[in-house]
Symmetry: C2
Subunit: 182 residues, 2 copies
């Protein structure tokens, strides 16, 4: 950030009075520009014994497999964001959503939330951001071709929890570079 979004004049980094963090502050109108983490919401869509993965058509990690997920938008709930992304990336409809995994990624200022859900039918297809969309048994998961650590951790946790038929909400921190494979 270099300019004030309110008045168009230059900003500089300083600690505002009564604050204890560096912020972008407008040198002219004194507006403080706060920056906050963003939420990525998505679904672990399950059909019988299988889970739904999308092969990414876009960077980063083009060609690698992911759970449908993306940035939550203003005006929606976390579940609405997860369902929208599942529709956009996998043209899939799901139901019975339950919050399942919450990942903190403080080094990139993101919070991931994955909801477990039931795939409503087999009428799914690759959306614009996907090359292909496919159901996988546990034994077929392309572990070496997953796009992000959050995806692998969610799948591994799911196959563990499934043995007990018990799916508590898990909160985990990921502090390394998620652009690298876990």
């Amino acid at each position: 950030m270099r300019f004030c979004s309110q008045c168009g004049q230059p900003v500089s980094q300083r600690i505002p009075e009564g604050d204890d963090r560096l912020r972008y502050v407008c040198d002219t109108c004194a507006t403080v520009h706060y920056q906050n983490p963003r939420i990525v919401a998505g679904c672990l869509a399950v059909y019988q014994q299988q889970v739904l993965l999308c092969r990414r058509a876009i960077e980063p990690r083009r060609g690698f497999w992911t759970l449908p997920a993306g940035f939550m938008e203003n005006g929606e709930t976390t579940i609405e964001a997860a369902l929208r992304e599942t529709w956009e990336e996998a043209r899939a409809r799901v139901h019975a959503e339950q919050l399942y995994m919450l990942f903190n990624l403080p080094h990139i200022n993101q919070v991931y939330m994955f909801f477990r859900a039931e795939l409503s039918d087999l009428d799914f297809a690759a959306g614009e951001e996907s090359l292909e969309v496919k159901l996988f048994d546990e034994s077929e998961i392309p572990w070496e071709q997953l796009a992000f650590p959050t995806v692998g951790k969610t799948l591994r946790q799911f196959f563990v929890d499934r043995q007990q038929h018990n799916y508590p909400v898990h909160v985990q921190d990921i502090r390394y570079n998620p652009g690298k494979r876990s």
Copy 2:
């Protein structure tokens, strides 16, 4: 938002190519300025049968009681944000944090997360944003003087769940104006 934070020139609202939402886009450098929901994190700090509340020293809702909570900052996890706010507002230390309530407030682009936690000692005090900080039994809760609907809903849920000694994670949507009392 009126000006581009990258180049300082005017922005206008339009739907970028390949998008389906109105965004602020720079008329000069074409930067798209996304806006996303923010996370508010806080603690329901418990000591034996009592819960810790803060009376707000700042607007909105000055003079009303709240759970310690505030906007999550870049570079921290949701739990770190909740612990920091608990320290800043109540000068209280807690441990054994568990995610408990997640509220979607889509009309104000916020997601609240409250963690249940054990108060570590009785050495708490009003921080700069609080007039006073106090432990309350269930029968003493100032229900008519709570600052926000998220606070009342969290406390009511806690007293229900406590009877069963079972505290699942709850996800709720609040779609009305949280400036008004529930």
